[in-house]
Symmetry: C2
Subunit: 211 residues, 2 copies
């Protein structure tokens, strides 16, 4: 039995979902509210397994409510249920700790499937959302410029220390080298990165994910 609390301002949708859950084996709708202004108090009262949260509601938005709920009850699963599929809202929801993002669908079985997935400890995203999340993910991590800079093992090692803010002496100590050798490597690093100071090298190393 999965206990659910619903926040949805549209009355007819709220009632439809209530009817659906009331007649679905394994689902128990503990509460259905038209706004999320007292969401945290409602959660405290019902202690639901899963919260189904609309985004656009009078007063507190679903995203804000999500953040407040997660701050107090991080274990409660919150499923965003909306018609919006813009990157900004998706981003906020995922970063806010949502367990899923489901587009409103004429078929309530979709939502129920998502609720079950979430209750099992998984996450559920509608395909249209998943594709955007994966794109955002790619944009973050796939570096654009394949400006492959070839560093030798020692050079990479020294650069890593440099990025940690260490001085020549500390690097020498950490890598069991003499300061002179550290000096030697750093000169080469500067040449390869086309820079001529430690701060520049650090920013370039971070930018190009060389470390």
């Amino acid at each position: 039995m999965i206990s659910i609390v619903l926040f949805e301002d549209n009355k007819s949708l709220r009632q439809s979902l209530k009817l659906y859950f009331d007649n679905t084996e394994g689902a128990y709708l503990a509460g259905a509210y038209e706004d999320a202004n007292d969401a945290v108090a409602k959660i405290r009262k019902h202690c639901p397994d899963v919260v189904l949260m609309d985004i656009q509601m009078p007063g507190l938005s679903g995203i804000e409510a999500l953040q407040r709920i997660k701050a107090v009850y991080p274990e409660t699963k919150v499923l965003i249920h909306t018609i919006f599929e813009d990157e900004h809202r998706i981003f906020s929801a995922v970063c806010g700790g949502a367990s899923g993002y489901v587009l409103k669908s004429p078929d309530p079985d979709d939502v129920w499937q998502a609720i079950q997935d979430v209750h099992k400890g998984g996450a559920h995203m509608s395909p249209a959302i998943a594709v955007k999340v994966m794109q955002m993910f790619q944009n973050q991590f796939v570096q654009s410029q394949p400006t492959y800079i070839e560093l030798t093992g020692r050079e990479r090692e020294v650069l890593t220390c440099l990025v940690k803010g260490m001085s020549y002496k500390m690097i020498a100590d950490a890598c069991s080298l003499s300061v002179h050798t550290v000096h030697y490597h750093i000169k080469h690093i500067y040449e390869k990165l086309h820079v001529n100071s430690a701060p520049e090298a650090v920013v370039k190393a971070i930018e190009q994910k060389l470390v």
Copy 2:
């Protein structure tokens, strides 16, 4: 009709899936191979809508095959189909442009659902995968420490230059200050950030998103 090409080294699974697709309305299995060594050539031959790709196969891994296919046919949808749910493989798959990541399931309907989602332009992740992707996403963007460091206007300005790798002289020039004043500000910045060198300040500034 969705045309599918399958790469799967396990013979019995490959045959089961073939049987399943052959008897599924709307599915057309154009090819089924036991390794992905010539994946690109196979794709060129069949021009499938969706590729179902195992990860662990003799020779080329599914992840490598994905990358090669995407490099030549970026429009072809590739669905990773595996038992692995470690973060590294998921990460590689998503960054490699996979349209989905489906865990092998005893119910072939799951795969078929994912294929349909992908063919409609969406993406599909098994719940256990989705939860990991969302966690990785959060870890990337949600900054942990609200260690609010109060910098004055000039200090922030100077720090910004520092992060760009500029020397005292260049900063003085850029901000229309004397080197001495730059020196003065940098001293204060170091105090506030609890560091004592430019590289350290740079990494800290980037970490804490002070610039």
